[in-house]
């Protein structure tokens, strides 16, 4: 998206600018102020959010210090709280989701934008956008009733047979667990990847394709070596958006992850994610410290999101500088 300059759209206001009468100048200021306020409110909201999370978890911060991040026990009865199993569960399931969703999503986007006949492309795009709007609890039900039993009966035994020498695919198979959560998340984020990547691919100027074809490239060569690299920033952006959604997803994850705060090397084992534990325990957390620990977990999730988004920025900036397509 960023590398699509859109010359017509940007030039229009400049051409008409001299025609503006003096009175509208004050209108400009007015509009400027209003939009500035709108933009500032976002920043303000973020600051307020962090402040609230911080101020409402001070007791827990003092009590556990940095040990909160490395603690592995979550025991509301004895008042001992550690975030590591939740951070681990969140990262592993999100990574799994991307591992499945990115190749699938980008592949589908390439087909829809470059290879498919327009009629099929439009119909499929409509369905995909519909999928993106399905509430997450529906995906959770899908996970419980279809994905989990399927993985328990066929998927996990198959993985154990073929890749069982890896610690990732060992241990008892319950059907629910981190693998299932990762799969359900993948299903949930794939529409985002497809729909955004397709938009970006469609926005690649026709000249790029024509140039490649003119130089004797085949259709696939032009797609894979010219169009996709040209659109890679947008595709990356779609992946990070998908990641953000996967990190914060609550309902669908808690329904299939098994909700057990343990760190296990096996993907078959149950795990827990930050968003899921907050949703699960917040309403009934009677002890102050328990509540504070849950709020501090919220702060950790926020920090995690910021770090990952920061990394995303760095990746994008570094590819822009090295990139030849700009």
């Amino acid at each position: 998206m960023a590398n699509n300059p859109g010359p017509t759209g940007r030039a229009a206001p400049n051409r008409r600018a001299p025609a503006l009468i003096q009175g509208l100048r004050s209108g400009d200021t007015f509009a400027h102020l209003v939009t500035l306020l709108c933009a500032a409110s976002v920043l303000l909201l973020t600051v307020a959010l962090v402040y609230e999370l911080y101020i409402n978890s001070t007791t827990a911060q003092h009590k556990f210090g940095l040990g909160f991040l490395t603690g592995r026990t979550w025991d509301p009865v004895s008042g001992e709280f550690g975030a590591l199993p939740f951070v681990y569960g969140t990262l592993v399931t999100s990574a799994l989701a991307l591992l499945v969703a990115v190749p699938l999503g980008v592949g589908a986007a390439i087909f829809l934008s470059e290879l498919a006949p327009p009629r099929i492309s439009n119909a499929l795009t409509f369905v995909i956008e519909l999928l993106a709007a399905v509430p997450s609890v529906i995906y959770g039900l899908l996970g419980i009733f279809i994905t989990a039993p399927f993985l328990r009966q066929y998927g996990e035994p198959f993985l154990k047979r073929t890749l069982g020498f890896l610690p990732l695919f060992q241990g008892p198979m319950y059907g629910v667990g981190m693998l299932t959560a990762g799969f359900v998340l993948a299903i949930m984020v794939v529409p985002f990847v497809i729909s955004l990547s397709r938009e970006v691919l469609m926005a690649v100027p026709v000249e790029q394709r024509e140039g490649a074809l003119g130089l004797g490239a085949t259709k696939w060569e032009s797609t894979w070596q010219v169009v996709v690299p040209y659109a890679r920033l947008g595709i990356l952006a779609s992946i990070f958006l998908a990641l953000a959604r996967a990190l914060g997803e609550t309902m669908a994850v808690t329904m299939v992850i098994g909700n057990d705060p343990k760190i296990s090397s096996s993907l078959f084992a149950p795990g827990y994610s930050i968003a899921a534990v907050i949703a699960n325990e917040f309403a009934e957390a009677t002890a102050d410290l328990h509540l504070q620990a849950l709020i501090e977990l919220g702060l950790v999730l926020f920090a995690l999101t910021i770090v990952i988004n920061g990394l995303a920025r760095i990746v994008i900036i570094s590819t822009t500088q090295k990139g030849s397509s700009q």
Binding site: G9, A12, P13, R16, L24, S26, G27, D28, F30, A31, V34, T73, W74, D75, P76, V77, S78, I144, F145, A148, P149, R152, P172, Y174, G175, V176, T254, M255, G258, N259, D260, P261, P270, Y272, A276, A279, N280, E281, F282, A283, E284, A285, T286
Partner: protein, 354 residues
Amino acid sequence: MKKLSNPAIIIVSAALVLTSLVAFHSSASNAAPVPTPEIVMLTGAGATFPYPIYSKWFSDYNKIHSDIQINYQSIGSGAGIRQLLSGTVDFGASDAPMNDEQLGQAKTKILHFPTVLGAVVPTYNITGFSQELKFSSGLLADIYLGKITKWNDPEIMKYNEGVNLPAQDIVVVHRSDGSGTSYVWTDFLSKVSPEWAGKVGKNTSVNWPVGLGGKGNEGVAGLVKQTPGAIGYVELIYAVQNKLPYGRVRNAAGVFVRASLDSVTAAGAGVAASMPEDFRVSITNAPGETAYPICSFTYLLIPTKIEDANKKQIIKNFLLWMLNDGQKDAEPLTYAPLPKQVVTKELKQILQIE
């Protein structure tokens, strides 16, 4: 693009929004029926378990007294207690009694009024087996501690002679969300197993030694249904309504009792005599041959001092009605009604509200 930045458009749309707001406001105030006397609104918040019967009570009470409207938000016991302590609601509701620390935070003394009883039952899914199982109390603790891992363990076979249990792995399922159901379950396990009391303890959410977590009764029931060899615990009402198989549990008198409304009320009656004045009592593992051992009261939490004289009277009247007529609604909704002895005690407690 150009049109959007035009200030005239902004002003016009802002004016439109304003007028529509004003119009909405005036129409809303016009719509309020003029002749009825002032409607008194009471709000309460708390436990989800008794929500079906509370909403029936409050709606029935509104039918009798059209000028009284009681709103109840089932946001969970813990959240209900917090709202009551911060004074944002008129009354709270909780499955577990408030602890001393919480009562200490209250500005005025808070009274516990038991309303109905609930029970928790063990449900299971053993491949090729659909009979009723008997669980001794220590057995349940050992299964949930992860010490008994096979369905044909001699400890299980000991009480279930003649049944043919497979050598299947036991998959333990518990609630993942904080809940009164978990509180009752862990309270029972703490009472019958010193090891459980020492290692895990009782709470709305605990550090489970083993097992998978499901969200809500439906989450636990779903996991149990889907996982061969699973055992879980759900509310009796939920098991009855969804026709889940559930086992008998051995009570303090050594009898294996099947959970039913009668055996749950019997448990309440069993502790009625030794009940403290403030009703804060656990009735798990209650004495009495017919008492089902895993059950509890659910409470309304009422402050003793209510500033608004009108509200105070309404609350008192409602409690009276709930303890008499209201109790008849319990059984059709599969809640166990209060035993007589407890009702009598509660009627006395109403007088403490000033």
